[in-house]
């Protein structure tokens, strides 16, 4: 108990809280700008965090981390430009709600509520169940990672609502793009055409910005060409979510947060996978799944709760095992170590107040994020009222600047432009860009862990069916793949 009180003393100090608020603000900005990644924000402010004594620097980094995941949803909803890969799934229903239904306030309100809920839910899980979840996470070896990747790929059939065949084609194209570069499993160089640039694979962020932001700009230019500007000012609907909305998405919030926390605690997986799985599950359990993609509240809430729930989950392996699951947590672990706090099994024994301070920090970060989100929604939502002649050139410039600043590479900019052009036409042909993104995200994970499993088992495929957790995910994936086809068959019969 005294530990908790001393932890509270550390966090609830004006300077520490100031750092936290500053961190959340920077995080939201970095998250909302495509091309500026969480890792970049953390790495840039790391020297500052080192300079602060004690816990304040850590709180600032926690703020950035939580804020950035949330910030990605703002541009995803308003501009169909996911600020981070974790908010790609949010574009599916968030953008239609903000534009087609003219309810940007409602969409941002739901996403803010869902983000906060997911963050706080996962922090609670971190506090209550960290040792238990860490044990589960350690069960994941190569076969389990492969099965999880296959499970993730099975979502393609559900996010490509229009045409399953075209969705699968997009997914396969994504899988192909993921094979470019040096194959770390064999050391072979694949599809690089003798260039240095492609050695490390096609960069994912430029493709993401191209097929979403640039393709959307081109589409909007086409839609609004020669359009006379409407002078009617759209009153921003209320920003706090309605009671009806809250009731409607409540179950979705809990399910998505649980999914996000679980995926977050497995090292090497993150918000991008979590948000897609959460969206997919929300759609499957919904009684009106055919409405998904037109701007339903569950479709906004699910991915946002899912990706923000990753934040608490990702700290489970860091704090209990001392193993960072991704780049962002690795940076924060480095910052902790510089302050003399060594994450890992001994942390809870040696430095209990610091553990509680991190817990409190995560809680506060989510609360600050919530307050900041709600107070800024009206300002953010005004973006939809900016005339297209002003807005579209701005986004166009942003796609170039964002892409270049990601890796300081002009090659990346070329990739972005080309994928934007291709994305524009594929959108017209009703191919799903989300399935392409899923293919790229999961391609390497599926392939590397498939090959790795076979190395471990000396080439025997039995390894995939003799491990319960692996088998569970594989069976789940098969069910996911088959159900839309069965439903499709049923509908056809009805139609006849």
């Amino acid at each position: 108990m005294s530990d908790i009180i001393s932890a509270f003393g550390m966090v609830a100090e004006p300077f520490s809280l100031g750092c936290l608020v500053f961190g959340v603000w920077i995080g939201i900005l970095f998250g909302a700008m495509p091309g500026l990644s969480v890792n970049m924000g953390l790495a840039l402010l790391l020297p500052l965090a080192f300079a602060f004594k004690g816990i304040s620097g850590i709180l600032m980094l926690l703020g950035i981390y939580c804020g950035a995941i949330y910030g990605g949803s703002i541009s995803a909803i308003l501009l169909k430009t996911p600020g981070t890969p974790a908010s790609v799934a949010t574009t599916l229903d968030g953008y239609p709600m903000a534009t087609k239904l003219h309810q940007p306030g409602r969409a941002l309100g739901i996403s803010t509520m869902a983000s906060t809920f997911g963050g706080i839910f996962s922090t609670a899980c971190l506090i209550i169940m960290a040792p238990l979840l860490a044990k589960v996470a350690l069960q994941f070896s190569k076969p389990e990672y492969f099965a999880l990747a296959v499970f993730g790929l099975s979502i393609i059939t559900s996010v490509s609502s229009g045409n399953v065949i075209k969705g699968v084609m997009g997914g396969l194209a994504g899988l192909f793009l993921a094979t470019i570069g040096i194959d770390a499993m064999s050391g072979a160089i694949r599809f690089t055409f003798g260039t240095n640039y492609l050695m490390g694979g096609v960069s994912f962020i430029p493709i993401l910005i191209g097929v979403f932001a640039l393709a959307q700009v081109l589409q909007s230019i086409e839609d609004h060409w020669n359009e006379v500007r409407q002078t009617t000012r759209l009153a921003i609907d209320r920003t706090l979510p309605r009671l009806a909305d809250m009731k409607r998405v409540f179950v979705t919030l809990i399910r998505s947060s649980a999914i996000g926390t679980f995926i977050g605690c497995i090292p090497g997986t993150g918000g991008d996978i979590a948000s897609f799985v959460a969206y997919d599950q929300a759609k499957r359990w919904s009684s009106h799944s055919e409405d998904f993609g037109t701007g339903v509240p569950e479709g906004v809430a699910a991915p946002e709760a899912g990706n923000n729930a990753v934040s608490g989950g990702a700290f489970i392996p860091v704090l209990t095992l001392g193993i960072p699951g991704d780049g962002a947590t690795a940076i924060m672990m480095g910052a902790l170590m510089v302050q003399g706090i060594q994450p890992g099994p001994m942390l809870f024994v040696d430095k209990a107040p610091y553990v509680y301070a991190i817990f409190l920090g995560l809680f506060f970060a989510n609360i600050v994020m919530c307050l900041m989100g709600y107070s800024l929604i009206r300002l953010f939502a005004k973006v939809t009222q900016v005339p297209h002649v002003v807005l579209l050139p701005l986004i166009l410039v942003m796609t170039f600047v964002g892409t270049y600043s990601y890796n300081n590479s002009l090659n990346d900019v070329c990739v972005m432009v080309v994928s934007g052009m291709i994305g524009y036409f594929l959108n017209k042909l009703e191919f799903s860009m989300s399935s392409l993104i899923i293919g790229i995200i999961l391609g390497a994970m599926a392939e590397q862990n498939f090959v790795g499993s076979l190395i471990m088992s000396d080439g025997s495929l039995n390894i995939f069916v003799t491990r319960p957790l692996c088998l569970f995910f594989l069976i789940a994936a098969v069910i996911m793949l088959i159900t839309p086809l069965i439903n499709f068959g049923k509908k056809k019969k009805k139609a006849l």
Binding site: A184, Y197, G200, P267, P317, I323, G327, G344, P345, M346
Partner: protein, 318 residues
């Protein structure tokens, strides 16, 4: 809307003004920004150590301004190529990593250590033989004996086929006449640590820094390190050299200048690096992050780059 626009203009103007100020003629290195190309993504080991080094160098060289730029394209190769092609005026420096000694011999890169002049190498992390605490071997000899009795059984984690820790394991096999099952973890050492903690693999030869918390907590043990001298962080762990097997595999990162940079400028940087790398604050900064600080400066660093290049050339040729 107008107010907002005015605010934007104000911000832009201030930024522009700030950029104009303070461009007086001064002696190197204070006569302009020094760009440091980091060929790895922000937040990784190479990046954090480079940023740390830059911060300390900036303090040591009054008036200088170092600007880190990440260029992680192409697995770091493009960043290293860009640096080799940069104007050798002392205003573009960069980090190169051990891959520079390996890639040319694997047909993956055209630049070699001969394209650069080394300033200093703040990190040279040795390959450490790490096994779970309850493994039936406590010394290198016992491990080798076990490996001989079970050829091809021990699952050895590495960071990708053809990457440094895989080559360390291949070197080990050759030296001791044993055989492992090599399991690649392409995302790096953190994944190997998770696999070791979850008992999915039996051993690894890798940079011990990522495993520090598990080692400190007594879940993993280090049997030996492939270094010339004992690690400052693990002074009780013997080196392979002490045990009669002179294997040295180290993942280094070095601050370098492109070839042709004037010698006087390089010397300014080398002298500063010498002071920085041997200072207590710098060593503490690294130790706190679980990294063994090293101070290989100037010609010694050039020699390390050349030595490793020759070693990998020989080893990778077959």
């Amino acid at each position: 809307m107008k107010k907002l626009l005015a605010l934007c203009m104000l911000v832009l103007l201030t930024v522009a003004l700030a950029g104009c100020g303070g461009q007086k003629k001064a002696a190197y290195p204070a006569d302009g920004d020094i760009t440091v190309i980091i060929p790895k993504a922000p937040g990784g080991g190479t990046d954090t150590s480079a940023r740390g080094l830059i911060q300390f160098l900036q303090k040591e060289l009054p008036g200088s301004k170092f600007v880190p730029v990440n260029k992680p394209d192409g697995g770091g190769i493009t960043g290293m190529v860009d640096l080799a092609k940069a104007k050798p005026d002392g205003h573009t420096l960069g980090m190169v990593t051990v891959e520079l000694a390996m890639f040319p011999h694997q047909g993956k890169a055209t630049v070699t250590n001969k394209d650069y002049i080394a300033i200093c190498a703040p990190i040279a992390a040795p390959a450490a033989l790490i096994v779970p605490k309850d493994a039936p071997y406590n010394t290198l000899d016992e491990f080798v004996k076990y490996a001989k009795a079970n050829p091809g059984k021990i699952q050895m984690g590495n960071s990708g086929t053809g990457a440094i820790w895989h080559i360390a394991a291949l070197n080990f096999e050759k030296e001791f006449g044993v055989q492992f099952k090599h399991v690649p973890y392409p995302k790096g050492s953190a994944d190997i640590a998770a696999a070791l903690a979850g008992k999915h693999i039996e051993a690894t030869l890798a940079d011990p820094s990522v495993f520090k918390s598990q080692v400190d907590a007594g879940k993993l043990k280090i049997l030996a390190v492939m270094a010339d001298t004992r690690s400052e962080l693990y002074p009780n762990v013997p080196t392979f050299k002490e045990l009669g097997h002179p294997l040295t595999i180290r993942a280094w990162a070095a601050l370098v200048a492109p070839k042709g940079t004037p010698k006087d400028k390089v010397d300014v940087l080398r002298n500063a690096a010498e002071k920085v790398c041997n200072s207590k604050e710098f060593k503490d900064y690294f130790k706190k992050q679980g990294i063994d600080p090293t101070a290989i400066i100037g010609d010694a660093a050039d020699k390390m780059l050349a030595d490793d290049d020759a070693m990998y050339a020989k080893f990778l040729k077959k």
